[in-house]
């Protein structure tokens, strides 16, 4: 079983040299720490920066340089700053190669819900709806089950949707799965996790095709 850092590490294996990547708040943010040696990847933050660097030192802190999670950041050499319209032009125009974000629910047809719990949580969708509507390569990073132990990989989302049929891959604490013709195709098991564990934790339909390898992280 993986922790948040393990999920981030596994997703980092999906990165390719020269990619521009948008990382959502939470687990996705951690991915920046695990970029494989030798790859150059540029991180985009939708509030208006490409080439986002690590957190600043105490001396470097600048109130005018934050990421989409409102955290203070630094800019890498070769970074570029732009306004919000240009930022979403990049996103909507498919110039970003990979989007990683969290979710409350993912359905087996690729639907995602992560912005609203009716009558309870009212935070707003931020940039998530633009991201999932436009990106061709969307990985969801999340725990396989919620705090009550219920599966977050469902036949059908119960919460208001963020996007329809858009998720391509899901990396959880238990497994790597792909959305494949309306079902979840199991790709890899987390270390020490059995196929049976994953079946138990997955409400949606699973495709289990042959031996499922363990992740190599």
């Amino acid at each position: 079983m993986l922790d948040k850092h393990g999920i981030a590490k596994r997703i980092a294996q999906e990165l390719r040299d020269g990619w521009y990547v948008n990382l959502g708040i939470g687990i996705p943010t951690l991915i920046a720490n695990y970029v494989p040696e030798g790859l150059q990847v540029e991180f985009q933050s939708e509030n208006g920066i490409l080439g986002m660097g690590p957190f600043p030192t105490e001396e470097e802190v600048d109130a005018d340089l934050i990421n989409a999670g409102k955290q203070t950041i630094t800019a890498m050499p070769g970074a570029a700053i732009f306004d919000s319209a240009t930022s979403f032009a990049m996103i909507r125009g498919k110039h970003i190669h990979l989007t990683v974000l969290g979710a409350m629910e993912v359905a087996q047809n690729g639907d995602i819900a992560n912005w609203k719990i009716p009558g309870r949580m009212v935070k707003g969708m931020g940039g998530a709806m633009d991201l999932v509507a436009s990106a061709d390569n969307i990985i969801v990073a999340m725990m396989h089950t919620n705090k009550k132990g219920y599966s977050k990989l469902l036949k059908k989302c119960t919460l208001p949707l963020t996007g329809v049929g858009c998720v391509t891959k899901i990396v959880t604490n238990l497994a790597v799965l792909e959305v494949d013709s309306g079902r979840f195709k199991l790709i890899e098991r987390a270390p020490g996790v059995t196929v049976y564990d994953i079946e138990k934790a997955t409400e949606g339909e699973l495709i289990i095709d042959g031996d499922i390898p363990e992740m190599n992280i």
Partner: protein, 230 residues
């Protein structure tokens, strides 16, 4: 041509109860602090505020929410403000939540004379309810309308007497599009300079979009998430 006013309170003259305002900023980054303080002092109410976020409880637009000066918020993300959530769930505050990219583009459209455009964002979600849908290359898109405002209030790093503005870092965010979309646009700057001091090649907001400009003071520039590398 003189766009310079002496203070935030002079800048906001003419903002009346029930008007629609756009306010730049992302979180607390790049918000027009001085103008918001002046709006609190002026006590103007029944406002519709278009702003990506709604501040925090005791800073930014949170200050106007506390005083119940806002009737309606048009935003993309309001997660950092407990008072906002309370007012919204109690039905004291109207809220229109919009995907962030659509919000940015709708402001730009308002300033650019584009009355409406198609975007894929929000299709199949409650955001698309009641909106026109059209297929492009087989993919459904929804028609989104331009936004404009009686007053747009933006914050820039430097500005000149003609209203030319430059922003610093990610404090740019929504400010340039909102500057375009105000019937009257107020710019609050950290440093007011003479025409000719800003390089024409690197102006972010050309002065044509700005009607009033003033140098703010005592910018707090509060940081929401002070994350440090050790």
């Amino acid at each position: 041509m003189n766009k310079v006013v002496q203070s935030a309170s002079e800048a906001i003259k003419g903002i009346k109860n029930g008007m629609t305002l756009m306010l730049g900023g992302f979180g607390l980054c790049g918000i027009p602090e001085n103008s918001i303080a002046a709006l609190v002092s002026a006590g103007v109410s029944g406002l519709t505020c278009i702003s990506n976020n709604a501040g925090v409880d005791d800073f930014g637009l949170g200050l106007l929410l506390q005083k119940k000066q806002i009737k309606k918020m048009i935003s993309s993300y309001v997660g950092e403000n407990a008072e906002f959530e309370r007012q919204m769930l109690n039905g004291e505050l109207e809220v229109d939540l919009i995907p962030q990219g659509s919000l940015a583009e709708r402001c730009r459209a308002g300033g650019a004379g584009i009355p409406a455009f198609y975007t894929p964002a929000g299709y199949g979600t409650e955001v698309a309810e009641g909106k026109e849908v059209k297929l492009f290359n087989g993919k459904p898109h929804i028609l989104e309308y331009a936004l404009s405002a009686d007053f747009a209030i933006v914050k820039a790093w430097k500005g000149d007497r003609l209203g030319n503005l430059i922003y610093k870092g990610t404090a740019r965010n929504f400010n340039p599009m909102m500057a375009m979309a105000g019937k009257i646009t107020i710019a609050e700057v950290e440093e007011l300079v003479e025409p000719g001091e800003l390089d024409p090649n690197f102006i972010h907001t050309p002065g044509v979009f700005v009607q009033r400009i003033f140098q703010g003071n005592n910018f707090e520039k509060r940081i929401e998430q002070r994350t440090i590398r050790t």
